[in-house]
Symmetry: C2
Subunit: 255 residues, 2 copies
DNA sequence: AAGTGGTCTAGACCACCGT
DNA sequence: CGGTGGTCTAGACCACTTG
């Protein structure tokens, strides 16, 4: 074992490129700065543009870069910590989330089959669908759809009543009157639907962190929300002191 | 507004392709089934292989497909729900997580600078680094690195003492003797490092859900763990009844 | 050895943003 | 309008698994 085999399994060009770029970002660029365009970068590194793009894609996925069509590629700020749940957090949507969420509107809609199963509604049955948007530091970071069966808010007039923001607030108000017995959440990776993408200023298919929350009341699932967060810019925080600063930096490891 | 403009903004081929394939998966394929190879699929749809691959990539990201080099593309089973925290969950690692986690070993190591900052250790200072692996339904789903400053486990012999599984268990045991005052977590999107990738049977750069947990004791951060979960196969659950079945299906939306 | 997915190339055109 | 990133092509070769 004398020969120092550096490249026993040669790593792909885009992978090496990513590492090089990553280090350059740490040392030679500051947040918001614009990188050279892709054609120039590719030429500079002696690779095809597609290969260069593969590296940039990875860095964007990791929240290090931000790319905008027609504009350019910029160095992204550290991800924002977005509080999804505090420690003793058992609350209805809109109950104590301050000005983080902005209620958009409410319409009757048929929920996706997976949601209908959880809610226990008949397939094809319409429920209240409340749309909300979450803004953090001036930028939209999440879009939410909250599905509420008519049976959870019986005081509300017929489900086909006029839609709109006022209606949305009414649904949330009625929901708050129920006793909240518990809730559970799940986080998974998804991709932006066309409508979410537009709202969040991303392209369709962009990676999203999908948070589904189920609200229990009186032994039943009273409501269910599906919130999609921009995966490139968000760090979801759960716990006692949400939002502690952790930013990445040189991450080389010593043995 | 009389003309029915179906393609006002023509959607990209790969996007349309993804939709078509997604519906085919729902109706014509069952879990574990092998799809035709990429060259055949591309020919069948009349697109270049790269375009077809872009669609497959998306579907893999969403956990619908599984691709393995040298083998083929198969229909993935629904994501497994992996409990990350229960409701009243304030526990040290290894305290009550049953047989979910498997302790691998412990070595002295210099933590990444971001971790060192949180732990309050000097840059370059070595800490205990415990490695654990999480297995669910026979498959490895996560790899964890737990960083424990020597000051948190003072009873332990010098940090350079023999490494290995026994050492790892000793670190966890000592940690458990401390009073746990709180913890908070964050979830964000990351990509697999080369070593994690190998351990989790993925390629480097594969998308991962990175869960960082900070453990507080006596007003200090006593330890910090960084766990990376396979984003394609995992749904992280938090809450009262972790692991409720929610599987995707036809998700078309009616107005 | 044959077949699979993964990487890479060189080029073209398109959609979008700013001026 | 010119410049940017986004999409797409047709082909080549490589790394890996399996028979």
């Amino acid at each position: 074992m004398g020969t120092t085999q550096v490249e026993a399994a040669p790593e792909p060009k885009y992978w090496h490129l990513k590492t090089v770029l990553s280090e350059a970002l740490d040392s030679e660029f500051s947040v918001g700065e614009i990188l050279p365009n892709e054609r120039d970068l590719a030429a500079r590194f002696g690779v095809a543009r597609a290969t260069l793009r593969q590296a940039l894609e990875q860095l964007e996925l990791e929240g290090r870069l931000q790319r905008r069509r027609g504009v350019g590629t910029t160095v992204a700020p550290p991800r924002v910590g977005v509080a999804v749940a505090s420690s003793a957090d058992q609350e209805w949507p809109g109950e104590a989330d301050g000005d983080a969420w902005q209620t958009v509107d409410s319409e009757p809609a048929v929920p996706p089959t997976a949601v209908a199963q959880v809610l226990g509604t008949a397939p094809g049955e319409r429920v209240h669908r409340v749309r909300r948007t979450r803004v953090s530091q001036g930028r939209p970071v999440a879009a939410e759809l909250l599905y509420v069966p008519a049976s959870s808010v019986p005081e509300l007039s017929a489900i086909d009543a006029p839609s709109g923001p006022a209606r949305a607030r009414a649904v949330l108000r009625e929901l708050r009157r129920l006793g909240l017995e518990g809730q559970d959440r799940a986080v998974e990776l998804g991709s932006a639907r066309a409508d979410d993408a537009k709202e969040l200023d991303r392209l369709p298919g962009a990676p999203m962190l999908v948070v589904t929350t189920r609200f229990y009341s009186e032994g039943e699932t009273a409501a269910m929300s599906v919130a999609t967060y921009r995966a490139d810019t968000c760090r979801l925080t759960f716990g006692d002191s949400g939002g502690v600063e952790i930013h990445h930096g040189p991450d080389r490891r010593a043995s």
